[in-house]
């Protein structure tokens, strides 16, 4: 919803999420504030707006990195909840906002807010990430974010008809690449040896990353955990 004089709320955003208790909102805020990285990301705010002027998302969404820095600095728990339940997913994570003359890192704050939103399984976050599960599956299992076989016309229709050529010719085009680790590989970006993938799975389990996935998509978690456990047991 675009900001207008009627809905502009420069103070506490206390009426926007009455279904969530203040205590719950405060708990989320404190999780962000207590992250060890928080003090590296926020030093104060001049309200100069340099971060907004450079922010790509601010040009296309009702979104402001300055508001995020301000809300966190003022410890405005209600507004931070507003931000964590919606605004954070507009950020492009380009970190242009690091231009801040105060040394703030609004993009970094967004990262912390997102981590807390995911860890606590906020419904809005689940909704945002719903169409993204197949990418999480790929990166956690293969160690690559994208692979050639993802270049399908139904996934990238707006990239034009040439995408159809990618998928139609994929097996032979991939063989026509001189790089040894790429040649012929279609389900990952490059050949990764088994030991390396097992080490990657160990990282996901040991760091609590699997629990994070469980919070956001239990079905995806179970699928990943089954495959990885089996592989790890085989050794």
């Amino acid at each position: 919803m675009p900001t207008t004089l009627e809905n502009w709320n420069p103070g506490k955003a206390q009426d926007r999420h009455p279904e969530v208790s203040y205590e719950e909102k405060e708990k989320l805020f404190l999780e962000v504030k207590n992250d060890p990285r928080y003090e590296d990301f926020l030093y104060g705010c001049y309200e100069c707006g340099i971060c907004v002027s450079t922010c790509p998302s601010a040009r296309f969404y009702d979104y402001s990195p300055r508001v995020i820095a301000q809300a966190m600095a003022r410890e405005d728990v209600e507004r931070v909840y507003d931000i964590i339940s919606e605004d954070i997913w507009n950020c492009a994570q380009c970190f242009s906002c690091l231009r801040c003359p105060r040394g703030n890192n609004p993009g970094g704050l967004v990262t912390l807010l997102r981590e807390v939103a995911v860890k606590n399984g906020l419904q809005e976050t689940k909704d945002v990430l719903q169409g993204y599960s197949r990418v999480i599956y790929k990166v956690m299992l293969k160690g690559n974010q994208v692979s050639p076989d993802m270049l399908q016309p139904d996934f990238f229709p707006d990239w034009g008809p040439w995408v159809g050529e990618f998928s139609k010719n994929m097996p032979v085009w991939r063989k026509a690449i001189p790089v040894d680790t790429l040649r012929g590989v279609t389900d990952a970006a490059w050949k990764t040896n088994r030991k390396t993938l097992l080490e990657l799975y160990t990282i996901w389990f040991e760091t609590g990353n699997m629990e994070i996935i469980k919070e956001i998509d239990e079905g995806l978690h179970d699928l990943l955990a089954d495959v990885m456990q089996e592989e790890l047991e085989e050794g």
Partner: protein, 405 residues
């Protein structure tokens, strides 16, 4: 004008040295000193830059060592997956100078794309992924060169976090112990475009394709020079040292006319999650704030960048904008692909133009390259592969530079 007013000359004088390039007065600490201190305490291993390196200056005048060879190539999933000519051009350039490099299979992506897209990870996992890769490189004795701008930026950020937070170091070490790996941080984090930058005059010596008739714009990659900004290469002779020198320096060395445009600082619109599942933002930003601005202001033959996401976004987004009759239509390449092409790399066996979407034919036409001839040659390769008479294209097929007649 009153006597107390600052004159224009005074303002210009002040602005001419607005950025002091003196490491002694740099506003940020030198992370390498902290790394060596941690190494002295036995907390980490610092992998040294190989002897064969070139020294360059970074934003605040510090010296950075860029290794020339004996490098472990930390590949990019977006490049290898969707723009393979980017990767093959980087390796092809190394091969033209017989430089020793390693293309490993014990590397995972940094997983930073996913982290910036979804945050379905945490600091410890991200640091462990980076450290596992660096330990793998250290085991080989080869020094990491990072292909992806996001991996490079993400790792710089993680390096800061590891240095500043003992708890994180302890946690990562605990995980690495299970793999029998040490906690290694390289002396320098090196992006491949920095290697391209220091090699640019060598490339020019071997250049066979005249590019002086080409006008190009440069999109500097956000995660290269905005994250931990002090680590990017700056040169007083390029943009007066006010912007990073990488890419622009390379194009200028190849004789290309680099044209400026007003939205050079804007990001490409990649957005990490946006480019995959929320592309309305990506398409709009990349075409309205970047491509169309370049087109309207300087009408370049080409735009060049040095990161996975930027090449993808700027290239792929143009189709839908064209459908809406926007003023678009600029082919997009990486600096490595341009350098390789200048030295005679085959347009399809090496540069792999066929993975790019925006029409690149006018650009090759302008260079006087009969692309149809080389496309036919490549189609013949594909026929042999389809018929089972050839397993694939190898370096044996691709190494030799094309002599365009």
């Amino acid at each position: 004008m009153t006597e107390t007013m600052t004159t224009v000359e005074e303002i210009l004088e002040r602005k001419s040295h607005a950025v002091t390039r003196d490491p002694e007065v740099a506003p940020t600490h030198d992370i390498r000193e902290a790394l060596f201190e941690l190494e002295a305490k036995g907390e980490i291993v610092v992998q040294r830059v190989p002897e064969n390196h070139v020294e360059v200056k970074t934003k605040f005048g510090r010296t950075k060592k860029i290794p020339i060879d004996h490098t472990w190539h930390h590949k990019s999933c977006g490049q290898c997956g969707h723009i393979p000519g980017y990767t093959s051009s980087i390796f092809w350039l190394h091969r033209q100078f017989n430089l020793d490099y390693l293309d490993p299979t014990d590397q995972t992506s940094c997983t930073g794309w996913n982290y910036y897209a979804s945050a379905t990870s945490n600091a410890a996992a991200q640091a462990a992924v980076m450290s596992r890769n660096f330990a793998a490189a250290y085991e080989t004795g080869y020094f990491p060169t990072i292909h992806c701008g996001t991996s490079y930026g993400h790792y710089k950020e993680i390096r800061e976090q590891l240095v500043h937070h003992k708890g994180l170091r302890d946690e990562v070490r605990r995980i690495l112990d299970k793999m029998g790996k040490p906690l290694v941080i390289p002396e320098e984090l090196v992006h491949y475009s920095e290697w391209v930058h220091v090699m640019r005059h060598k490339f020019a010596e071997k250049q066979t394709v005249d590019m002086s008739m080409i006008r190009a714009t440069v999109h500097p990659a956000c995660h290269y020079y905005k994250i931990v900004a002090e680590d990017a290469i700056y040169d007083p002779d390029i943009y007066g040292g006010q912007r990073t020198a990488t890419v622009t320096g390379t194009l200028e060395a190849l004789g290309i006319d680099v044209a400026d445009y007003s939205t050079w600082f804007d990001c490409c619109g990649f957005g990490f999650r946006h480019v995959l599942v929320q592309r309305d933002f990506t398409r709009s930003f990349s075409t309205l704030r970047k491509i169309e601005v370049m087109k309207n202001e300087v009408n370049p033959d080409l735009t060049v960048t040095h990161d996975t996401g930027c090449v993808t976004t700027l290239d792929k987004s143009q189709f839908s904008a064209k459908a809406h009759d926007r003023n678009v239509g600029i082919p997009v390449l990486s600096d490595a692909q341009v350098a390789a092409l200048a030295m005679g790399a085959h347009p399809f066996r090496v540069v792999q133009f066929h993975w790019h979407s925006t029409d690149w034919r006018p650009f090759l036409d302008k260079l006087g390259i009969n692309w149809q001839k080389y496309w036919d040659e490549f189609q013949n390769d594909l026929e042999l592969i389809r018929a089972g008479q050839k397993s694939g294209i190898t370096w044996e097929d691709a190494d030799k530079p094309v002599v365009y007649g």
